[in-house]
């Protein structure tokens, strides 16, 4: 099961990747470039369960990215995180965010959040009729 973390700050992307890699059964990919993340997602979307994106990033905002992610595979859980306030209107306009996390984020909170989503997906996968 794939998880992607997208943050234009390399140090943060690396930290998040390390933290999320503690979750059993997942492979975490970290990207500093939303376009590269999108490319990877496009090629591997069936393996993805969660995408976590920063909001303000060069080339495209996290909302634009998550909106494209939703278009490709709406079943993937999309989490937005930001140190900035985001206008409600923007969330409504894009309608692509399942969960918003305000930075700074406690790593334990992020891990718990993602672990919960991963567990749900694993249960669904186990019960899926072949």
């Amino acid at each position: 099961m794939f998880i992607a973390i997208i943050d234009d700050e390399p140090d943060l992307a690396y930290l998040f990747k390390e933290a999320l890699s503690q979750i059993d059964g997942v492979q975490v990919f970290a990207f500093t470039d939303p376009l590269l993340a999108l490319e990877h997602f496009q090629a591997n979307h069936q393996n993805y369960s969660v995408i976590i994106s920063d909001y303000r990033m060069p080339t495209m905002t996290g909302l634009e990215l998550l909106s494209k992610i939703k278009d490709i595979n709406p079943a993937v859980t999309r989490i937005m995180m930001s140190a900035f306030e985001i206008q409600d209107g923007l969330f409504q306009e894009y309608n692509c965010v399942d969960k918003f996390l305000q930075k700074p984020i406690l790593m334990t909170d992020l891990i718990n959040e993602v672990r919960m989503i991963v567990s749900k997906v694993q249960i669904l996968d186990t019960n899926r009729i072949p």
């Binding site: 234009d8 060069p58 080339t59 905002t61 140190a83 206008q87």
Partner: protein
């Protein structure tokens, strides 16, 4: 940090120009004459931080009778304060005595207090700041990458084109920073060339 100064040949190619070091860039920014503005393309946030932290520190040391107006986009205002403090800038003191104003550029653009559309709010803010601080010189540092996200490239083109003209008689100078990749997305090749033409020797492209 490596950097390239465009010497007016309208080329943005890093390989076709001389490569000044960090001190040379800083020196160039410090000597931007009043009434002028520079266009600076930066590759990543870390590089921009180095430049603005060194520039603001030196600017306030060398011209204490000035006001630095910093409009940040990718950095939160708190992080800007942290970066500046780490570089030896007395942020609290400067903010208290009015010689430094740090704002999120998005908040300026969304501020209903300014009765002008979008990008004109930047000009309005500069005018109001100048008026408020009397005979002080206003140094504006703005991360214009925001306009890639707000999809206002044509307005930015117009703003950049008229900025030199409008600034002539006033006591302010402006450093317009753009993330390189946002810049490439915002403008077509032709628009990018036109922007370089407006700025002539006032373009710095950092690697």
């Amino acid at each position: 940090m490596n950097a390239v100064v465009d010497d007016g040949d309208n080329s943005t190619s890093p390989n076709s120009n001389k490569r000044p070091n960090e001190d040379e860039i800083l020196d160039q920014l410090l000597h931007v004459p009043i009434g002028h503005h520079y266009l600076i393309l930066y590759p990543d946030l870390e590089t921009m931080r180095k430049v603005y932290a060194s520039y603001i520190k030196r600017q306030l040391e060398e011209q204490p009778n000035s006001v630095v107006l910093f409009l940040s986009y990718y950095d939160t205002t708190d992080n800007v304060r942290l970066v500046l403090s780490s570089n030896g800038v007395q942020v609290k003191e400067h903010e208290k005595n009015g010689s430094m104003i740090i704002l999120d550029i998005m908040n300026v653009l969304h501020n209903p207090y300014f009765q002008v559309p979008d990008i004109e709010k930047l000009r309005e803010l500069a005018r109001k700041t100048e008026k408020q601080f009397g005979d002080k010189t206003i140094f504006i540092i703005a991360d214009m990458s925001v306009f890639n996200h707000t999809k206002k490239a044509s307005e930015v083109l117009e703003y950049e084109k008229t900025l030199h003209k409008d600034l002539k008689v006033e006591r302010w100078k402006e450093l317009c920073f753009y993330n390189k990749r946002d810049f490439e997305i915002m403008f077509t090749e032709d628009e990018s060339k036109r922007l370089m033409e407006y700025h002539k020797d006032k373009v710095i492209i950092m690697n």
